[in-house]
């Protein structure tokens, strides 16, 4: 069965036969098939997104000792559809003095910045949109569009709270982009390619064993980039109500919400692809491309689950701590780690595999240990300084 080995090519050939049979010329048929492929992928992602609403709500409620949606359908499975109907029939409000064009464009850009990410996701050995040789950079570039959509939403709503929320969120996103891009260069060094497909192919050993610290930094930066707790200063419910999307109602709000969920899932997927072997799982991907897709989706769900787990466990961090943590700790550590990895890679280029892996792993542990010790030293000094000031103040009274 050819279809079970390479479904995309078989489907494309079949469609090509039909279209040319209708008298369409070959190039037009190719363009049409390309469009159809994109349409199918996007529709599947949107359906997945609806399922993610249910997953997220169920998981949160478990973390908070609740049951969660359980009224509509078995296990509340129909609940997200009810939510969507509600969002669609809700009145679509635009605040007075809003900048209409920018206001309406922002949710579209927000959703788009997530969907275009899937162009480079390798779902199976021969199922991927495009094999860009600058895949890692492409991920960061689409993040730029997400940042843009948030600042557009915050500004155009003509609301002080949404503007403050947008400022905070964008400040966080811009600064956490730097450690994220830096640690993305580490799989690039291992695979000696920036292409996501090549990075997956190079993972005979999962890169998390070669560079656990990079995997952790990527996860932290990804959560910050998503603007989820503990980095959800931009939407802080208790002070800004909802941040940049406060004025949006109905499906426009739904776009932001769905975009955020799918973004979290997508970053979970990239975490899995960059550090946990993507669709590779003990040769399972060679058996059938459908199994490979199942593997990568399963890994992405685990990544998404970790992101949710952190979101509903950790408290919100103050914004100056958040930015200080990035600029004073995460960014330098990421830079040092990148330099150490590049150096070790050159040093161990001809070494046997076990030595390469253990050398990389040990150098990671060393970098992590030194940076944590330095941070501890600094914070102890800071605490002592504060105590000193307190004592002098008390003595004066």
């Amino acid at each position: 069965m050819d279809f079970w080995k390479d479904p995309l090519k078989v489907a494309a050939d079949w469609l090509m036969g039909i279209f040319t049979g209708w008298g369409m010329n070959e190039i037009a048929a190719q363009v049409l098939i390309g469009f159809l492929g994109v349409l199918v992928l996007l529709s599947l992602l949107m359906v997945l997104d609806i399922a993610l609403v249910w997953v997220e709500r169920k998981v949160v409620s478990r973390f908070q000792s609740r049951i969660g949606p359980n009224r509509v359908g078995p296990f509340g499975l129909i609940q997200p559809f009810a939510d969507i109907i509600k969002l669609l029939i809700k009145e679509d409000t635009t605040p007075e003095g809003a900048d209409r064009w920018v206001y309406n464009l922002a949710p579209i850009l927000s959703m788009m910045s997530v969907l275009v990410l899937w162009a480079v996701v390798p779902l199976a050995p021969n199922i991927l949109g495009v094999d860009l040789n600058v895949g890692a950079l492409y991920i960061i570039a689409t993040g730029a569009i997400g940042t843009l959509s948030i600042i557009m939403a915050g500004w155009s709503s003509n609301n002080k709270y949404s503007l403050i929320g947008a400022f905070r969120e964008v400040a966080v996103m811009l600064s956490f982009e730097i450690p994220m891009l830096t640690v993305m260069l580490i799989p690039t060094i291992f695979a000696s390619s920036m292409g996501i497909a090549a990075i997956t192919n190079a993972q005979d050993t999962w890169f998390v064993f070669l560079s656990p610290l990079a995997a952790i930094i990527f996860l932290i930066a990804a959560i910050a980039e998503l603007g989820r707790a503990p980095f959800d200063m931009g939407e802080a419910e208790s002070e800004l109500v909802s941040g940049y999307n406060i004025e949006y109602s109905g499906m426009k709000f739904g776009m932001f919400y769905a975009g955020e969920l799918l973004h979290a899932f997508t970053y979970g997927g990239f975490w899995a692809i960059l550090f946990f072997g993507g669709y590779r799982f003990f040769g399972l991907e060679q058996v059938s491309p459908f199994l490979a897709i199942a593997v990568v989706m399963f890994k992405a769900l685990i990544g998404y689950w970790v992101i949710m787990w952190i979101k509903y466990t950790v408290l919100r961090i103050r914004i100056d701590h958040m930015l200080g943590f990035n600029w004073r700790f995460l960014t330098p550590v990421a830079f040092v780690l990148l330099m150490v990895t590049a150096f070790m890679n050159a040093l161990l280029a001809d070494a046997p595999n076990w030595l390469y892996i253990s050398g990389m792993f040990l150098s990671n542990v060393l970098v992590a240990w030194i940076s944590l010790e330095t941070a501890r030293h600094y914070s102890r000094r800071e605490r002592e300084r504060v105590e000193e000031v307190k004592k002098t103040v008390e003595a004066h009274h």
């Binding site: 900048d99 950079l137 960061i140 730029a144």
Partner: protein
């Protein structure tokens, strides 16, 4: 006309229109947003030329960093964020003349250039533009010296910015 030419014309014309909107719109934030559209158009042109790396870098650096910082600067420095001052500088006649002369000069220069009629040669399969670029930037026979000088310049600019912003206690 081939499909590629049609796409090129569409992208080029819309980029020019967006660029015109940058200087003609009265709202500063809108001008910044039009600038982003213009830069995205340039990125699309790079992509059409098979320069994927440059296209992505264009988006990361210009849209993701510089244009966002423009918007930040506008929002943090303008009280109303809706600037309605005069758009024309008193020197606009001189500026228009200068740009006209520049355009004429470029036009004359390109008249004698034979590259216009050339067709693009196909890129051989397996050609990795990114690794060629990387080799060129780091090999002693390539551009390692200008690359390092530019890096030092950027580091100097960073240090200078930190020095200016540093709060002495």
């Amino acid at each position: 006309m081939t499909g590629e030419q049609i796409i090129f014309l569409l992208v080029a014309v819309s980029t020019l229109v967006f660029a015109l909107r940058v200087v003609t719109t009265g709202n500063l934030v809108h001008a910044a947003l039009w600038l982003i559209a213009t830069l995205a158009g340039v990125a699309a042109l790079f992509a059409l030329l098979d320069a994927g790396f440059l296209a992505v870098v264009q988006v990361v650096v210009y849209i993701g960093a510089i244009a966002i910082l423009f918007i930040f600067a506008v929002m943090l420095t303008r009280k109303e964020m809706r600037d309605r001052g005069p758009q024309m500088n008193p020197n606009w006649r001189f500026g228009a003349l200068l740009s006209l002369v520049m355009f004429g000069g470029l036009y004359l220069l390109l008249q004698g250039w034979t590259g216009m009629e050339k067709t693009v040669s196909d890129i051989p399969s397996g050609f990795d533009a990114v690794s060629v670029l990387g080799d060129a930037l780091t090999s002693p026979n390539g551009y390692v010296l200008p690359f390092e000088v530019a890096s030092v310049l950027l580091v100097a600019a960073l240090v200078g910015a930190v020095y200016v912003a540093f709060n002495r206690k």
